[in-house]
């Protein structure tokens, strides 16, 4: 083999070893994760990355070996994603989420939260009033499949029995089912916000309607207070979570419809990311609600204790989200 004749070939020969070393390190990270590299290797990546980048610039300007340029482009892009990727430690990220990101997102979306909560309340009040006047409305609000016999024709004794340990299903299975089911609905409510808020709003009202109809049926039989306890123990957490999910959806839909000063895509993605932070929290809240509903409610049959737990939960959540904190604004900077 004779010596290379072209300048671009000499250029390549001088640097090839560095590139393939970088390539090897990246492949190893892909396979075994960054932890597989020792400190010296990790520290060498930024150096190799910069030299690969400058080689790419030079190659574009001087080399007509197309494959070489493509190789360097892909090598640099892969390294770029690694070097400028998310480097914070998972534990650190989780800590920041609970300390600042989640409550900040909840605070930032307070207007949407109020809106979603009012829509749900509206649905509740309207359907309560309608069902009290004419019991047939109940069937319009609550699909027959989920009533489990809890409709206007049920006897007082039966309704009472559903409130206190009527469930025969194994409790923890029930809790797990409630969690996955509710979390799915919450994610759905968030996703629907993309369509200019309307379906999310509809979902909020509809949710309120089922609630109001149920309340009316029990109230007509003089069981309103007892049903309140039955709902309150988990409902404060669950309905709050669903309201927040709707609020996150509203934020996205609103940004899409009225992006304000920013470009539409920019406004939507900012809203989407903020909403997503809140949604992580919503899933956690629904997990708690599932436990309260599936386990707590079935085990605790005293109305006052049920009310007390529900009230404690809503107080705790509100304090956590909306308590003014100076550290939050510091960390947001």
């Amino acid at each position: 083999m004779s010596a290379p004749i072209l300048k671009s070939q000499r250029f390549r020969q001088e640097r090839e070893a560095d590139w393939s070393q970088l390539d090897r390190l990246l492949r190893r990270i892909d396979k075994e994760g960054p932890a597989a590299l020792d400190d010296r290797q990790l520290l060498s990546i930024p150096v190799l990355y910069r030299s690969a980048l400058s080689a790419l610039s030079v190659a574009r300007a001087t080399s007509l070996d197309h494959q070489l340029v493509e190789y360097l482009e892909s090598l640099c892009a892969r390294t770029y994603f690694f070097v400028y990727g998310n480097r914070s430690h998972p534990l650190e990220r989780i800590r920041r989420f609970f300390l600042t990101d989640w409550p900040n997102a909840a605070q930032a979306l307070w207007r949407e939260t109020v809106g979603a909560g009012l829509l749900m309340l509206l649905g509740t009040v309207v359907s309560y009033a309608l069902v009290l006047r004419d019991a047939d409305w109940f069937y319009a609000f609550v699909p027959a499949a989920i009533t489990g016999g809890r409709d206007p024709t049920a006897t007082t004794a039966f309704l009472r029995s559903t409130l206190y340990g009527g469930q025969h299903e194994p409790l923890s299975f029930f809790a797990a089912f409630l969690f996955t089911h509710n979390a799915q609905i919450a994610v759905f409510a968030f996703a629907l916000g993309f369509v200019f808020c309307l379906p999310s709003g509809f979902l909020m009202i509809y949710n309120g309607c089922s609630l109001g109809a149920l309340l009316a049926v029990f109230a007509a039989k003089g069981l309103g207070f007892q049903l309140g306890g039955w709902l309150f123990i988990h409902g404060t957490t669950e309905l709050f979570a669903v309201t927040l999910a709707g609020a996150a959806g509203f934020r996205v839909g609103w940004a899409l419809a009225f992006p304000g000063e920013r470009a539409r895509t920019e406004a939507v993605s900012a809203a989407g990311r903020q909403g997503a932070i809140l949604m992580f929290g919503v899933v956690i809240m629904l997990f708690a609600a599932g436990l309260l509903e599936g386990l707590g409610r079935q085990l605790i049959v005293n109305d006052w204790v049920r009310y007390a737990i529900g009230a404690a939960m809503i107080t705790a959540w509100s304090a956590y989200f909306y308590w003014p904190r100076s550290s939050a604004s510091d960390a947001a900077r």
Partner: protein, 292 residues
């Protein structure tokens, strides 16, 4: 040489409409290539197959276990199944995209990855947002699709399917092939292929070895575009294409000689690249053969 030009489109992977610039903080443009709709769909179908297959396998295993043990442990198995279902539907995409590769197995198989549109790091909230929107892109149309109704309800379902179909086909309606989820999360899906550095075609001293002596006029017949086509032809190594291209070049430069096609092409490639690179160093990039 029109046939070669036409072939260039097929041989070179250049897709000018899909290259987006990403300027690194060091000031170099990385020319990211977006994944096209076909790649996105294939990746998704692969993932869907994995999810459905995984769910099937998990269900069978859990069912067999349930039959085998029975009794109070059944409840735990039931919970396990619920979480497997929930996890495959919601967590699968998020967990895989949170890894350094930022790609699900389906995307990885096609050499794709998710990236932040603004060039910044891909954050967990963006990944959550882009995958939460799958609810209306995938599951909503599916729900309408499997709903069986008659009469007016059927028309409502059809309207719903049309409406939700818009979200499923969203990537076809914009230049950047963004899903609705990508739009909400500020992400896009780019190609991040792992390329190997192939040998330099002019690197084996072809000219000296074979003693081809091209005249200056013969070397000046082509420009950079043709050089790249020639590079592709030699790298692909399909004998028939090589023969055709060699015949065309011989005719164009009036080359008399019956060397093997591959040797001739390598030698001409080396000579042409040397000439064009020299001109490049003097500040002139000869685009193609029409550029003087």
């Amino acid at each position: 040489m029109p046939p070669v030009d036409a072939r260039a489109a097929a041989l070179t992977p250049e897709k000018p409409g899909r290259v987006r610039s990403l300027v690194t903080p060091e000031g170099v443009d990385l020319h990211l290539v977006l994944a096209d709709a076909g790649e996105r769909a294939t990746a998704f179908l692969l993932d869907a197959a994995i999810i459905i297959g995984g769910l099937g396998v998990a269900s069978i295993v859990i069912l067999l276990l349930a039959v085998a043990i029975q009794g109070p442990a059944m409840e735990i198995l039931g919970i396990l199944w619920l979480f497997v279902f929930f996890g495959l539907r919601n967590v699968y995409f998020i967990a895989f995209e949170l890894t350094p590769g930022a790609a699900t197995p389906g995307k990885r198989a096609l050499g794709l990855r998710v990236a932040s549109r603004d060039g910044g790091p891909l954050t967990a909230d963006a990944i959550f947002a882009r995958n939460a929107i799958r609810e209306i892109e995938v599951y909503l149309p599916l729900t309408f699709l499997i709903t069986q109704r008659t009469g007016v309800d059927a028309w409502i379902v059809l309207a719903g399917l049309t409406w939700s179909g818009i979200f499923a086909l969203f990537p076809l309606f914009n230049r950047d092939r963004l899903r609705a989820g990508d739009l909400v999360a500020g992400t896009w899906v780019v190609r991040a292929p792992k390329r190997r550095l192939l040998p330099d075609l002019a690197g084996d001293g072809a000219i000296e070895r074979t003693g081809f002596a091209f005249t200056s006029a013969q070397i000046n017949a082509y420009g950079v575009k043709e050089l790249h086509v020639l590079e592709d032809v030699i790298r692909k190594g399909q004998r028939q294409v090589e023969a055709e291209v060699a015949a065309r070049i011989r005719r164009k430069i009036d080359w008399i000689g019956a060397e093997p096609d591959r040797e001739f092409l390598s030698a001409y490639y080396a000579a042409l690249r040397g000439r064009l690179e020299t001109r490049l160093l003097f500040g002139h990039r000869r685009k193609d053969k029409f550029d003087v």
